[in-house]
């Protein structure tokens, strides 16, 4: 788990403090978005958009919640919108390709994509974010609740559901004890994205 930097309090509206927040949080936001989106370029684009949106409302930010959790919430909304647009593009591509021979996988798409990142891409964005926030950033239930915009008491069950879903995507039976990557892992291609808009919206 990544060690968390301890930072002094931020002053809403302070340009100096926003630069400081960017310096501290940008890499961690980028990491979360990378986990949710699975693509470096998309994650960087969404991370920049997150800070643009945050800068616009920086004056009205209330320090009652951790600033980074607030940023994660903005980032997650942007990532959900990005995924939605990407899926619409994929459906459009599929419709255009109907009747033509299916093109082979681009080797560039497959390089550097491991099974966990692929599986995280296939589960709803709030679930993927919850897993990254808990198991990589070490967020508490309260911080995850702020980041996901959900009640704190439901965070535990949401993370458990996210892990069950992730295990299914990884090819392991959730009823069994996990013994590492199963034989089915990595058999899905990049085009086999599961469309699950309704479940994603509810988180």
């Amino acid at each position: 788990m990544e060690p968390r930097p301890s930072t002094p309090a931020y002053q809403p509206g302070s340009l100096y403090d926003f630069d400081r927040l960017y310096r501290t949080s940008y890499p961690r936001i980028l990491g979360t978005l990378m986990g949710v989106l699975g693509e470096r370029a998309a994650a960087e684009d969404c991370a920049q958009e997150t800070f643009v949106n945050a800068f616009r409302s920086w004056k009205s930010w209330k320090p009652d919640a951790p600033a980074e959790a607030w940023l994660h919430r903005i980032a997650l909304n942007i990532a959900i919108s990005y995924r939605r647009r990407a899926r619409l593009r994929e459906v459009g591509e599929l419709v255009r390709r109907l009747g033509r021979p299916e093109p082979g996988s681009d080797p560039a798409d497959l390089v550097g994509r491991d099974d966990l990142v692929k599986a995280l891409r296939r589960i709803p964005a709030p679930q993927a974010a919850a897993i990254v926030l808990r198991h990589y950033h070490g967020y508490s239930n309260r911080e995850i609740a702020v980041a996901l915009g959900t009640p704190e008491r439901t965070v535990g069950s949401r993370i458990a559901a996210a892990k069950r879903r992730l295990q299914r995507e990884l090819g392991a039976d959730p009823a069994d004890s996990f013994t590492g990557p199963g034989p089915q892992m990595g058999t899905r291609g990049p085009s086999d994205v599961v469309i699950d808009e309704g479940r994603e919206a509810t988180g």
Partner: protein, 151 residues
């Protein structure tokens, strides 16, 4: 859902994400800096606009005091006719009508001052419109010799 799976998850996430997270962030290259610069330029434009408006207001006040009218058209007409008269009266061999126009402005200002003073004595309306105001300093001076020579 075991501790073994959690451990595997943390190891895999660390292996995948740590190279990304460990890169330093440079605020100078962030996209929000464009928004910040845009906001600053808007603020600068607002200051320039305010200064221009203040200067225009001050110029209007000076012209209104000199012409004795709040109507900008009256300022132009009076000054235009004065300039025309001064040009007509300009003696051959002499250059410049500045002194002549200046004398006209001074004389006209004094007339307006006297008129406003009379209105102020007749009723409250004159006072309301500043009838007892002594006028700008240049109108309180003694008339120059050119005034008497002006027809």
């Amino acid at each position: 859902m075991t501790a073994k799976f959690d451990q595997w998850l943390e190891d895999e996430l660390g292996r995948t994400l740590t190279p990304i997270v460990s890169q330093p962030a440079r605020p100078g290259q962030a996209r929000y800096q464009v928004t910040r610069t845009h906001r600053l330029s808007i603020g600068r434009k607002a200051v320039v606009s305010l200064a221009t408006a203040t200067m225009a207001l001050a110029a209007s006040a000076v012209l209104a005091a000199a012409s004795g009218s709040l109507n900008p058209q009256a300022w132009g007409q009076q000054v235009g006719s004065a300039v025309q008269e001064c040009k007509t009266d300009l003696q051959p061999g002499l250059h410049g009508i500045g002194a002549c126009v200046s004398a006209f402005a001074r004389q006209h200002g004094q007339q307006m001052q006297t008129q406003h003073g009379a209105n102020g004595a007749n009723g409250a309306a004159g006072q309301k419109h500043g009838g007892n105001h002594p006028g700008p300093p240049w109108l309180r001076q003694q008339p120059s010799p050119e005034v008497s020579s002006t027809p």
